[in-house]
Amino acid sequence: MLTVTVAYIALGICLAGLLWRISRWFLIDIDPASDDPSTGRRLAAAGRALLDALFSPRLFNLIRVFLWEVVLQGHLFRQDRLRWIMHVALCYGFLLLVLMHALDDWTAPVLFADYAPTRNPFRWLRNLLAALVLAGVIGTVIRHRTRNTIGHIRSHADRLVLLLLAIIIVSGLLLESSQILSPSIFAEMVEAYIGNDDPEEVAALGQYWVAEMGAALPPPRSGAIVYDPVAGQMAHEGYCASCHSRPQAAFLSYPVSRLLKPAAGLMDTLRIDIWLWTIHYLASCLALACLPFSKFFHLLATPVNLLARTAGPVAARPPALRPTRRALGLDACTHCGACNAHCAVAPIYQVIPNTRILPSEKLQGVKRQASTGAAVEVAALVEGSFICTLCGRCTQWCPSGIDLQDLWQASRRDLIRKGVSPFYERTASLSGSTALAPRSTLPGAPPASLGLTNRPETFWACVQCTTCTSVCPVVAASDDPQRDLDLTPQQIMNLMRLQLIEQALGCRMLWDCVTCYQCQEHCPQNVKVADVLYELRNEACRRRLSVAQAAATSIKKSKGPVPGK
């Protein structure tokens, strides 16, 4: 009774969680504009899109995508055969175990008239499925540990899923091994099906089970009863054989039971089989309850996203559908890392250690922004979002069919609207904040600069002839350079000649520079004017980051732990 209650509680949590997660598809909007569609309109638009798809020639495309991409996982097959084998083994091994083993009370009798979990081929098949899942789990763990491409990042969520699967499968195999050995279970079965009227028959059966069925029954007291193999076999065929096949077919748990045989007595005293059953059962219930809240949710979200993708890219869909498609896309990510492996800016992550540069982690940041608006993390997301060049390769490679290109553009619009994009920031407030940015001196750390601005020699030759200013197109485009730009290039060079970097960093000329190199090309004294301006921007960016980090640290300190961390 208690066990059934636990299962139903887990199912209840699972269903409520699924409802909550699916409702988020119609509530979250990562790019909220003034003409934001209401949830009602979003639901109506999704319903209409579904009907459109079902009652049009697109249905055939949906069926094709369902069979090829969802059922056969063709996208993975195309990208990486080894990963495809591991994923298919894990996915279908576990799915069949759920259907034919966890739900066998309902499914098995319908399909097989003579089903019993301890009969063959069911025993053998269950071991085969367990072997597939285990192989998938072990292969995935090995792959995680041995791959060293840039941006190969694993999270606790990935590990949790693998750990849960491993616990379920290993506890199940150990449970079967302990059941093969268990004298207590033998005694219970004898009592239930034979009774104790004929001790000689029971003893003969016991001997048969020790010899043929792998049971670890205590040896009979010497002289009391003579072993009669024919009687034992007859009793087995009469009472047991209709439900019990030879356990040797359980090619994983039978060998394990042989290894455990010396400890069978102790295991039986402690009733290890009951403990293992409890672990196996609770872990399975936990997995069910976790389904909507863990990586398992991609079992639903990814196929739905792949099917929705058949309608075309998000930008080509009606406005009322776009926020829904984006929210669905956020959930469809399996954190597989295919995007990172093809990301054009992934090498930059080797120098700027912000994981939000990598698409898979940026997606997590966008998701967190959309659901919590965590202010502490926005600086990292902004940096990652605007280092992205929108090359679109992540979208081409995403095996879940997420329109990442659209997600990045929508998220950028949102950040710009919130006024946190890097484009409009003025750096005047940075003056006097040198103490925040000590130069990196760690071994192996990237060089902080090309070493131009901090060497007076760079500017020694400057004679303040103003050639740089007179050839500058930005200066030429302004009626009043002092008003629009604060300083002209030649004035910046003068400040730098005097090593007054703080004054130079705050001026608008620095950020309006178009990097055309006219100044540097025309300088009669070969001062690297444009390179110096680049280096000053580098310095300003580093100080701005220090300011952002200091602000984030003080928020953390004042508010305690960061929400969602």
Partner: protein, 280 residues
């Protein structure tokens, strides 16, 4: 004999924002039996140079190291990609600390930066590796009487001693290519100035102003068409301009050079990303 296979470096922006630059380039190079190797490369590092020069150089160096591994010269379509790859090589040669850092990072992937990896821009490949004479010989539909203003772009031209495309103060490579297809290259005062796109995100007003000045200047000089050979410049003159029209009396379309060349070679307009009435 010039190499006939290049490691193709379209850069990040062409595939999502300017796909016709890719199709037009492939078509015209195909006509001269140039093969393109499509090994996957990463960002050239140009956009991140404002922020972190080491990141910019590392990104560029990874591409250069891949080119070295493949044993092929790089062919870039974008002048900013070209410029940054050249700048990275220049600073790697000059700065030992930077070189050590970059090679340490590349080592994890079995890559290494070596000097003397050839980086070519589309203009040099056309004008020098193929040659203006070969182009002239293949033109079947010369653009007779069409006045073309060459917009050079900045990063392939300057700093001249680093990028070494042509004389940075008085270049002729683009005008020679325009003459080769039978058109008339225009002399116009602002031909070497910036298109305005580098500050488009930061200061759109300034960006549009710089673009408007250039268009006005080319128009005054009598140009019928402006031609570019850079992803960002073309995005500015084509995409940004379409979304934010500058007041003009006479239209002055912007064409990528391979679009004009393709037309002169008699290639179909759809491959070049042109409608049939876009042709001269």
């Amino acid at each position: 004999m010039a190499p006939t296979t290049y490691l193709y470096f379209p850069g990040c922006k062409i595939s999502p924002f300017l796909p016709h630059y890719d199709t037009a380039t492939r078509a015209v190079l195909g006509a001269f039996d140039i093969r393109l190797d499509n090994t996957e490369l990463n960002c050239c590092g140009y956009p991140v140079r404002h922020q972190n020069v080491a990141a910019s150089v590392l990104a560029a160096a990874r591409n250069l190291a891949i080119a070295d591994r493949e044993g092929l010269p790089i062919l870039t379509l974008c002048q900013c990609c070209f410029g940054n790859l050249k700048q990275a090589a220049y600073w790697l040669e000059k700065n030992a600390a930077l070189r050590r850092f970059v090679n340490d990072q590349l080592d994890a992937e079995g890559l290494r930066w070596h000097p003397h990896i050839a980086v070519r821009h589309l203009l040099s490949v056309l004008a020098e590796d193929i040659g203006t004479d070969s182009i002239r010989a293949r033109v079947i539909h010369p653009l007779k009487g069409v006045s073309v203003a060459a917009h050079y772009g900045c990063h392939a031209l300057r700093p001249g001693h680093v990028v070494q495309l042509d004389n940075p103060l008085a270049p002729t490579i683009f005008e020679n290519l325009i003459s080769a297809i039978g058109a008339t290259p225009m002399d116009w005062p602002l031909r070497l100035e910036c298109c305005g796109h580098p500050v488009w995100d930061k200061n759109p007003t300034l960006s549009l102003k710089l673009m408007a000045r250039k268009l006005e200047d080319a128009r005054t000089a009598g140009a019928q068409v402006l031609t570019t050979a850079c992803t960002y410049c073309q995005i500015q003159f084509e995409t940004v301009r379409a979304a934010h029209p500058v007041e003009d009396d006479t239209p002055l379309p912007a064409r990528l050079y391979p679009q004009l060349l393709g037309q002169a070679l008699g290639l179909p307009p759809d491959v070049l990303g042109l409608a049939s009435d876009d042709c001269f």
